[in-house]
């Protein structure tokens, strides 16, 4: 299994994502100006502040040359995981439904959160069971998930709500406590919390590793 981790100017969680992926497979950095996906089996769009997030979070990164390739890769069923800023980028790029708005508190929040696995059938969550609870850190200012009500109903009906903040753990005002969603096909998943920061007991939880293991299990080593 070969993961590719995108690096935009302003990415800051790319190295952690790389290390997390290397616990379960191979992993390389993909430079935003390149058009070569280097034959990876899965792409991770990591957290950070791509292109400074000037204008609007994730808005400018979607025009990177590499994003055109990722768009094509995703639309052909390639596995893509967007974490935090990566989630914002994928929403802006139209690969995931909805948008991320400023936290209701308008403040940056960094805390460990419990997430409920709602859909354990996606390529990124299949190492979990439905109802599993994952302890993973979240750290963002702009993580309030929003989509119009009819879209939310459709997401729920299609199993595209992948992760929810467990009761009492929602802090950013996301509609229906949504922490992570997928596209209709399920191959593209985005979430605000950071699984790549929860892969070693040293930092308190290894629950984040399950997302990487899920994808790795799909491709023979």
């Amino acid at each position: 299994m070969k993961f590719g981790v995108v690096r935009f100017p302003g990415s800051c969680d790319d190295v952690d994502a790389l290390h997390a992926a290397r616990r379960v497979g191979e992993a390389v950095i993909l430079w935003h100006r390149d058009r070569d996906l280097q034959g990876v089996d899965a792409v991770i769009v990591p957290g950070g502040f791509s292109y400074g997030d000037y204008l609007r979070v994730g808005a400018i990164a979607r025009f990177a040359p590499l994003m055109e390739e990722i768009d094509r890769f995703a639309r052909h069923g390639g596995l893509v995981l967007g974490i935090c800023n990566g989630f914002q980028v994928l929403c802006e790029a139209g690969l995931l439904p909805g948008a991320l708005l400023p936290n209701v508190s308008l403040r940056f929040v960094c805390r460990q959160v419990d997430l409920d696995v709602v859909n354990a059938g996606t390529p990124w969550t299949r190492a979990c069971r439905p109802g599993d609870r994952l302890s993973i850190p979240a750290k963002h200012t702009t993580g309030r998930y929003w989509a119009p009500e009819p879209v939310l109903d459709e997401l729920e009906a299609n199993g595209q709500v992948v992760l929810r903040y467990a009761t009492g753990n929602g802090f950013n005002g996301s509609v229906r406590d949504i922490a992570g969603v997928s596209n209709a096909a399920g191959n593209v998943v985005g979430l605000m919390p950071h699984p790549e920061h929860a892969v070693d007991p040293l930092t308190g939880s290894v629950d984040g590793l399950k997302l990487f293991q899920s994808a790795a299990a799909l491709v023979p080593a």
Partner: protein, 70 residues
């Protein structure tokens, strides 16, 4: 281009401003919303809506309004 949060979407920035105004003695203010202003010179104003749709605004969460002088 005036870019505003869409009606009906919670606007905590507008709410924060709305709460701050009475504290300064400015009573009777309601429905405060904070948006963005993008100023630019453009050769072909017909392209402005596309610019807004594709980059300057996120049409899912924001409305935009184009104002200009020839």
């Amino acid at each position: 281009m005036l870019i505003r949060p869409k009606a009906g979407i919670l606007d905590p920035q507008g709410q924060a401003v709305e709460r701050a105004l009475p504290a300064l003695g400015f009573a009777g203010v309601r429905n405060v919303h904070v948006g963005r202003l993008v100023e630019l010179d453009v050769e072909d104003p017909d392209r402005l809506p596309a610019m807004c749709e594709q980059l300057l605004a996120n049409p899912l969460i924001e409305d935009y309004e184009i104002q200009g002088t020839a």
